[in-house]
C-alpha cells in the first residue's frame, strides 16, 4: 500500500515541479520567478525525502538538508539583490 502512495506522491510532486518550471519560464515579474525558484527547492526537498523512503535509506536526509539551506540562502540573496542592487554591501 505504501508503494502506491509513494508513486502517487512522486507523481504529485513531480508534476508540481513541472508547473514551477513553467512559472519560472513564463512569469513577467522578477519576484514571481524568485518565488517559483523557492517553491522548486521545497518540492525537491520533498522528492528527496520520498526517494529516501522508497529506497529505505537515511542517506538522503543530508542532501535535503543541504538543499533547504542553499535554497533559503539563494532566495534571500536574490531578494536582497532586488531590494538593494547588491548582495553584500
Amino acid at each position: 500500500m505504501i508503494a502506491y502512495a509513494l508513486y502517487f506522491a512522486f507523481g504529485c510532486f513531480g508534476f508540481a515541479l513541472l508547473l514551477n518550471l513553467w512559472q519560472v519560464a513564463r512569469a513577467e515579474l522578477i519576484a514571481d520567478r524568485v518565488l517559483a525558484l523557492d517553491t522548486i527547492v521545497i518540492n525537491v526537498i520533498a522528492l528527496l525525502i520520498l526517494y529516501g523512503v522508497a529506497r529505505g535509506t537515511a542517506v538522503y536526509f543530508e542532501a535535503s538538508m543541504l538543499f533547504a539551506m542553499v535554497g533559503f540562502v539563494s532566495t534571500v540573496a536574490f531578494c536582497k539583490f532586488m531590494l538593494r542592487g547588491d548582495v553584500i554591501e
Binding site: F13, I30, A36, T39, I42, A46, L83
Partner: protein, 131 residues
C-alpha cells in the same frame, strides 16, 4: 499494528502530495502577485511537513530505530519559509508598487523598504510595475 501504520503513512503521503500539487498549481493560477505568495508558502510547506512526518513514522515502524533528522528539516523549513516569503513580498513592493499607492503607515513612521521622509517617490524608476 503494522497494517495500521501502513494506512496512516499512505494517507499522509497522499494528503501531502495533494497539498504540494495545490500549492504549485496556485502559484500559476492565482491572479495577483501578493495572492500568489500565499500558495507556495503555506500549502507547499504543509505538504513537505506531511512527507516528513510520514518518513519519521516509516523509519520508526519499519526501520527499527526512530530517526530525528526529519525534525531538523521540519524546523528549518518552518523557520525559513516565512522569512523568505517576507523577503519576496518586500522585494515585490519595492519594485512594483509606488510609494503613494501603499496604505499609509501609522502616524510618524514609514514603511521599511521605502526611503524615509522627503516627498520624492522612493522607487521612481522601477521598470516593471503593475497597475
Amino acid at each position: 499494528m503494522e497494517t495500521a501504520a501502513e494506512i496512516v503513512i499512505a494517507l499522509l503521503l497522499v494528503v501531502s502530495g495533494v497539498f504540494g500539487l495545490v500549492g504549485s498549481y496556485g502559484l500559476i493560477k492565482l491572479s495577483d502577485p501578493m495572492m500568489r505568495l500565499h500558495a507556495p508558502t503555506k500549502a507547499t510547506t504543509l505538504g513537505v511537513g506531511g512527507v516528513l512526518i510520514a518518513s519519521m513514522l516509516y523509519f520508526l515502524v519499519f526501520g527499527g530505530a526512530p530517526s530525528f533528522h526529519e525534525l531538523m528539516i521540519t524546523l528549518f523549513l518552518f523557520l525559513t519559509a516565512p522569512v523568505s516569503a517576507h523577503f519576496v513580498a518586500k522585494a515585490f513592493l519595492h519594485r512594483n508598487i509606488r510609494r503613494e499607492e501603499v496604505v499609509p503607515a501609522r502616524h510618524g513612521s514609514v514603511w521599511a523598504g521605502y526611503s524615509p521622509a522627503e516627498d520624492a517617490p522612493a522607487t521612481g524608476e522601477a521598470d516593471d510595475r503593475v497597475e
